[in-house]
């Protein structure tokens, strides 16, 4: 909170406990328009829980969430999504039996308020078609639009996972381990893909793959036991003994 720039997403003092376990402890972070920030931390640090608190899947015990300067703390997950908060999931969360095009259509039509239309077929809507084509280019699925999602390779399904969120044209995109389970080649494709997205899109990325963190993020936030323990550039994170200790675990010290 050093400067007074306009934040796209802001969490102020978010706290959440499950019984005696503090999964989020006074978490405060800001994301500017176009900022790419990685959240790293060991397993169980509360990264996905933080996403669930930001998207409204879980209600915080204390704290405020602001999207584009507006308080969204009391809004349902779907209302937050309609205001421009998109997310992808750590495990593929797709529509079985539908084609890539049909899946992307669902996302685009909801975002454009066309899910309410009783009579018009979004399949013949020009605005939706343009969005789908653009999204397919971003996520490298232009040639797979009419394939059923079940027929896609794992890497392509990961790309669709991100594409579903992108077809809604969010202001802020929360990506939960976009390269989870991916081969090194597919990880490279994902990195390229993320860097090709519009520069005004703000992204918060949970990631374990350090190549992706260094390649895609301008800022790194390190979470441990639900608490932010480090914030800085990827270079600063790399140089920090604190980050090394947390991330590599205690055995790192013994061998140092």
């Amino acid at each position: 909170m050093s400067d007074r720039r306009e934040h796209m997403l802001e969490a102020r003092g978010i706290a959440k406990s499950f019984g005696a376990l503090k999964v989020a402890n006074n978490v405060t972070l800001e994301l500017d328009a176009g900022e790419r920030r990685a959240i790293i931390g060991p397993n169980g640090a509360g990264k996905t829980t933080l996403f669930n608190l930001l998207t409204g899947e879980i209600a915080p015990d204390a704290g405020t969430v602001l999207l584009d300067q507006k308080d969204i703390t009391r809004l349902t997950p779907d209302a937050r999504a309609r205001r421009g908060l998109g997310r992808s999931f750590q495990k593929n969360n797709l529509f079985r039996g539908l084609t890539v095009r049909e899946s992307l259509t669902l996302s685009a039509m909801i975002a454009l308020g066309k899910a309410r239309q009783f009579w018009r077929d979004p399949g013949s809507d020009v605005e939706i078609a343009e969005r789908i084509d653009q999204t397919a280019l971003w996520v490298n699925l232009a040639g797979e639009l009419d394939l059923p999602t079940d027929a896609l390779s794992y890497g392509a399904r990961r790309q669709l996972e991100v594409g579903l969120a992108l077809a809604a044209r969010p202001k802020v995109l929360l990506l939960d381990e976009p390269t989870s389970g991916m081969s090194p080649e597919d990880t490279g494709i994902m990195l390229e893909l993320l860097n090709s997205l519009p520069s005004d899109l703000a992204m918060l990325i949970i990631e374990h793959d350090m190549d992706l963190v260094y390649g895609a993020a301008q800022r790194v936030t390190v979470l441990n036991y639900g608490e932010i323990v480090f914030e800085g550039t990827p270079e600063e994170a790399r140089a920090s003994d604190e980050v090394k200790r947390i991330y590599l675990g205690d055995w790192g010290d013994h061998h140092a």
Partner: protein, 324 residues
């Protein structure tokens, strides 16, 4: 979403043309059977919309059917409303009731949703059964039919009335094809496939579930107004949950999420029911056997069976694809 492929279109045309043809060539009993099939086809399509496409398996469908029938009967007998206005009012009422009940029951999931719809349905049944003012368990007779004599159509002629019902079933089919391709219909199918993702994409789930229930309720109510006109009599039996069960059996036998399958299922089950009940009163036993076979054979129903025959034939025609 619904893909109106060749098989669906062919089946729809065959059922429609067959129904219209049968209306004018069958004996009196055949026409009665056809009328019943057409009404059950409408009910089954509306339940497939709700259960098959939107994924909300309801056991309260007969309550909407009965409510539509009673409201039509009451408005036309007591209030002297014209049949078109009475049909419209009954349909809209059932849509509104569907909205409210859908909004309440949609907060539950799975088996609890089924039980909640069953409970609502039985509440409606008991209310009608106990209410002497609307005939109680005796029901009410003297329900008039729509008068289309102004355009030269005599609905008191059994052939013409049966054909009229087949046309209504055809219109309901077209309505659902249209609706399932719309943004609304696609949203329901998406919700059925992955509710959590649809919410994460911004869909307010309860509102869409309530709307789906409203549409299905309105169409079931509309079927009720036709049922009341067909038998010219309404009774609490219309609302009984065993009717809801029968419609669900028809939908599953015909093929969930296929729209035309349940219409075909209505023809097969109602015809079987009458055929078997001339020999034994335990017709439900044989329909049950048939259902078990259908479920064990993949659960895709008659439509699924026809679709696999189509795919098999297509693979055989394609050189090199026959052994796949």
């Amino acid at each position: 979403m619904l893909r109106l492929d060749g098989l669906r279109l062919v089946l729809a045309i065959v059922l429609f043309a067959g129904g219209c043809g049968y209306a004018f060539t069958s004996d009196f009993f055949g026409k009665e059977l056809l009328a019943e099939i057409a009404i059950f086809a409408i009910l089954a399509m509306s339940l497939d919309f709700l259960a098959g496409f939107a994924g909300m398996v309801s056991l309260g469908h007969a309550a909407f059917y009965g409510a539509g029938a009673y409201i039509y009967a009451l408005l036309s007998i007591w209030q002297d409303w014209g049949a078109p206005m009475a049909m419209l009012a009954a349909t809209l009422f059932c849509g509104g009731a569907g909205w409210v009940i859908g909004a309440v029951t949609s907060r539950t999931q799975g088996i609890f949703f089924i039980m909640a719809t069953l409970a609502f349905g039985q509440m409606a049944y008991v209310y009608v059964f106990e209410n002497r003012a609307i005939g109680g368990d005796d029901g009410m007779s003297g329900v008039p039919r729509l008068d289309l004599s102004g355009i030269g159509i005599d609905l008191n002629d059994p052939s013409i009335f049966a054909c009229f019902l087949v046309v209504m079933a055809g219109l309901v089919f077209v309505l659902f094809v249209w609706l399932l391709r719309s943004g609304f219909g696609r949203a329901l199918v998406g919700m059925h496939r992955n509710e959590a993702r649809m919410r994460a994409l911004g869909l307010p789930l309860i509102r869409y579930k309530a709307a789906a229930f409203a549409v299905a309720g309105a169409v079931a109510g509309f079927a009720g107004t036709l049922g009341a006109q067909h038998s010219m009599f309404v009774s609490p039996d219309y609302l009984h949950w065993t009717n809801s069960g029968l419609v669900l059996v028809i939908v599953i036998l015909g093929g969930l999420e296929s729209l035309i399958g349940p219409a075909l299922g209505a023809a097969v089950v109602i015809a079987l029911k009458h055929e078997i009940s001339t020999h034994t009163e335990h017709w439900a036993f044989f329909v049950g056997l048939f259902l078990i076979v259908a479920v064990l054979a993949g659960g895709k129903g008659l439509y699924g069976l026809l679709a696999s025959v189509r795919d098999w034939a297509a693979a055989k025609r394609q050189p090199g694809g026959g052994d796949a």
